[in-house]
């Protein structure tokens, strides 16, 4: 028991590495603040392409969505980060994970938004257009808000997945939260920094997980 | 087949529920209700919405646990610890307002499930028994359909066949026709009538007053968790003793 506490819940170690962990946390927060909006925007763009009335736009988009959904994000990151330099181009780690993130998030968000748009009854468009609204206005004020509401749990849940995905940046040495914690672990020969990081992820993501559960049961 | 399953306890009661009480949290929904049913009898349970009809029926096979009272089926104490309630439930059929057919099983699958799992019948025998009972309700041709492919009236007849197939001593029915379109009601009432003619004991909560008048042996009027009045159909419909009963009957007729 003592050994467990010593190894996993050693508050002295936690206090000592706190500055490192905090720096990592800030880096993670920055990553999320930049990547999540980009991912959502990419998702909306992807959805617009995937629901377009032009086959030439629709099919390649759907193909791309499925392609990037079957690609483990880590493989994507490594591919960009470790592969491209062999061409003689230097790729900063941050750029590598941004590209990988963007492709992955656009595919998943795109698919969610698409399901949302499909769940809005056709009559809604007809009603809106009959009052003289343009296609754009109809989308913006009538169909899209309903679509978002219908897939809110999925959107939230994918956002959580994205936050969790930022940990992959540690593999290419971006000093985000998990990377700092792992570095602190190897410096202190103690796992408490990892537990501290896990605790921070829990603290932030657990409320969201609860909210999703609530939402899902309410919708039923 | 049906006749043989009905017990011969001609004197004494087949179902004897005395002073049944049921409380949900703070509210007492049943305040000491007596319901005694003789073999072969068709008892109608009437009363305003919220009076406790469904709760009383569900207490009779302990789908709701009564909070007080005694409950006997053919002399067996249903509330005793030593009683195997699942074995007894098999002997008390139940038919629901919303049919509650299993949507993932075919019609015959719905009827045979308990035959095979509760009575441990081999498949061939269970199938034969199911077809026999589906014939009684006129649904044998639909044996391989799924519930979603049937009309409400057809679904309810399958629901009746499902409980009938277990050879129950009696059947409880909770508003068996009130979820049905008017033109489908008769098909179900006919089945109920044919069961009565074959001697099946039934307790039915229903608002089908005309049917009650024609077919019921006894009518029990329930209000606020208490039996206000009970008697033959003739007595209740033409000569009710309590003003409250007469008032209720006037209301439901219009």
């Amino acid at each position: 028991m003592d050994m467990l506490i010593q190894e996993f819940f050693n508050f002295q170690v936690m206090a000592r590495v706190w500055p490192m962990i905090l720096a990592g946390l800030i880096q993670t927060a920055l990553l999320c603040a930049v990547l999540i909006p980009i991912g959502i925007a990419g998702g909306i763009g992807t959805m617009l392409l995937a629901t377009s009335s032009h086959r030439a736009l629709r099919w390649p988009t759907i193909l791309a969505i499925d392609f990037f959904r079957s690609f483990p994000p880590l493989v994507l990151i490594i591919f960009v980060y470790a592969g491209i330099p062999f061409l003689g181009l230097q790729v900063p780690a941050l750029a590598a994970i941004s590209v990988a993130f963007f492709l992955n998030a656009s595919a998943y968000f795109g698919e969610i938004f698409r399901a949302g748009m499909k769940s809005v009854p056709k009559g809604q468009v007809e009603a809106a257009r009959s009052t003289g609204m343009t296609a754009g206005q109809t989308f913006l004020y009538v169909t899209f808000p309903q679509a978002v509401r219908n897939v809110l749990p999925d959107l939230l849940s994918n956002t959580i997945e994205l936050v969790k995905l930022t940990t992959l940046a540690s593999v290419v040495s971006v000093p985000e939260l998990l990377h700092s914690a792992d570095l602190a672990r190897s410096l202190t020969y103690n796992s408490s920094p990892l537990i501290l990081a896990a605790g921070i992820y829990l603290l932030v993501l657990w409320p969201l997980v609860r909210i999703i559960s609530r939402l899902e049961h309410r919708l039923r | 087949m049906l006749m043989s399953s009905s017990p011969v306890a001609s004197q004494g009661f087949l179902l004897e529920a005395l002073q049944i009480r049921k409380t949900f949290g703070q509210t007492e929904v049943l305040k000491g209700v007596d319901l005694q049913v003789k073999a072969g009898e068709l008892v109608f349970l009437i009363g305003p919405s919220g009076s406790g009809k469904s709760t009383l029926l569900r207490c009779c096979n302990r789908l709701e646990e009564p909070t007080g009272g005694t409950l006997k089926l053919n002399g067996t104490d249903l509330l005793a610890r030593s009683t195997d309630i699942n074995e007894m439930r098999r002997k008390i059929g139940m038919v629901f307002q919303s049919f509650n057919l299993y949507p993932h099983l075919t019609v015959i699958g719905n009827v045979t499930l308990a035959l095979r799992k509760v009575m441990k019948m081999p498949k061939a025998e269970a199938d034969a028994r199911a077809i026999e009972n589906l014939k009684l309700v006129g649904m044998a041709e639909k044996a391989l359909s799924y519930p979603s492919q049937l009309s409400g009236g057809q679904q309810q007849r399958v629901g009746i066949a499902r409980s009938l197939a277990l050879n129950p001593m009696m059947i409880l029915m909770d508003e068996p026709t009130s979820a049905l379109d008017p033109e489908l009601v008769d098909s179900v009432l006919e089945v109920i009538k044919s069961l009565r003619d074959r001697g099946m004991t039934m307790v039915i909560a229903s608002h089908e007053m005309n049917f009650a008048r024609n077919a019921a042996d006894r009518v029990v009027f329930l209000e606020n968790g208490l039996v206000v009045e009970s008697g033959t159909a003739e007595q209740i419909f033409t000569n009710a003793q309590h003003e409250r009963t007469r008032q209720f009957l006037r209301q439901v007729r219009h």
């Binding site: 050994m3 467990l4 190894e7 996993f8 499925d66 959904r69 079957s70 690609f71 483990p72 994000p73 880590l74 493989v75 490594i78 591919f79 470790a82 592969g83 491209i84 062999f86 959580i160 969790k164 995905l165 930022t166 940990t167 992959l168 998990l178 792992d182 672990r185 103690n190 796992s191 990892l194 537990i195 990081a197 992820y201 829990l202 993501l205 997980v209 609860r210 559960s213 899902e216 049961h217 039923r220 | 569900r58 789908l63 699942n86 002997k91 008390i92 059929g93 139940m94 919303s98 509650n100 299993y102 949507p103 993932h104 499930l113 308990a114 799992k117 979603s148 629901g159 409980s163 277990l166």
Partner: protein
């Protein structure tokens, strides 16, 4: 043209591909075996936990909900690192493949418990009543009446979840599991060429694209209704 040749040489180098093909295919078998382990244990445990939750015992439900919430909230890589680096220091040494399996298995168990539970709670209560009224026991009702309906509701979301969690097998490369990405990575450093990575990526798509397509077809079919 020069750039094009260089691109082909770097990412689609036939010589390199020929040389490292066996190494990377070895990784493929590891990925497939680990994937099957994760899926079978994860989904089975998820269904067991959801079934236990139907009993409505508080002392059981609280730990189940805690487990589910925590493993839904934690990043899989964090779980993997804690188990991989933490346990040896308290005297428990697990092979890296086992660490990968248990971590992802637990994550999948958590997510599938949630999906199955949602399925179970959306089966109308009348189904329980109808079944119990015919004398079926709690267990028989759960097994023959409730779960078949719950599973049907659960299959589309569960397939998607299972795929996205199983893709995390690539994280095994971070703790030295010789799955596809791990093998590709070491081939990459040995050959100083990106072709092994292309092959690894190709194999991942080869494994997961059919699953993604299958999940699309499932969703279609379920939308059309039927049985």
């Amino acid at each position: 043209m020069e750039t094009w040749n260089r691109f082909v040489f770097t990412f689609f180098n036939a010589d390199i591909a020929w040389r490292y093909w066996p190494t990377i295919v070895e990784g493929l078998w590891v990925t497939i075996a680990a994937g099957l382990l994760v899926v079978v244990t994860g989904v089975t445990c998820g269904m067991l936990l959801a079934s236990l939750r139907t009993l409505g015992i508080r002392a059981l439900n609280i730990p189940i909900i805690l487990f589910v919430d925590i493993f839904r909230a934690l990043p899989p890589l964090a779980i993997i690192l804690v188990i991989f680096f933490g346990l040896p220091n308290v005297g428990i040494v697990l092979p890296s493949l086992v660490v990968l399996w248990t971590s992802l298995g637990a994550v999948l168990a958590a997510f599938s418990e949630e999906v199955f539970w949602a399925g179970i709670t959306s089966v109308p209560p009348g189904q329980w009543m109808a079944s119990r009224s015919t004398g079926m026991t709690f267990g028989q009702t759960l097994f023959h009446v409730i779960l078949p309906q719950a599973v049907k509701l659960a299959i589309p979301p569960l397939t998607n979840r299972t795929i996205s969690i199983t893709k995390n097998l690539a994280l095994g490369s971070a703790i030295g599991v010789n799955e596809i990405l791990g093998q590709a990575n070491s081939a990459l450093s040995m050959s100083s060429n990106a072709t092994p990575l292309t092959m690894g990526a190709f194999l991942y798509v080869l494994v997961f694209a059919p699953l993604i397509l299958a999940s699309r077809m499932l969703e279609r079919r379920y939308q059309w209704g039927g049985h």
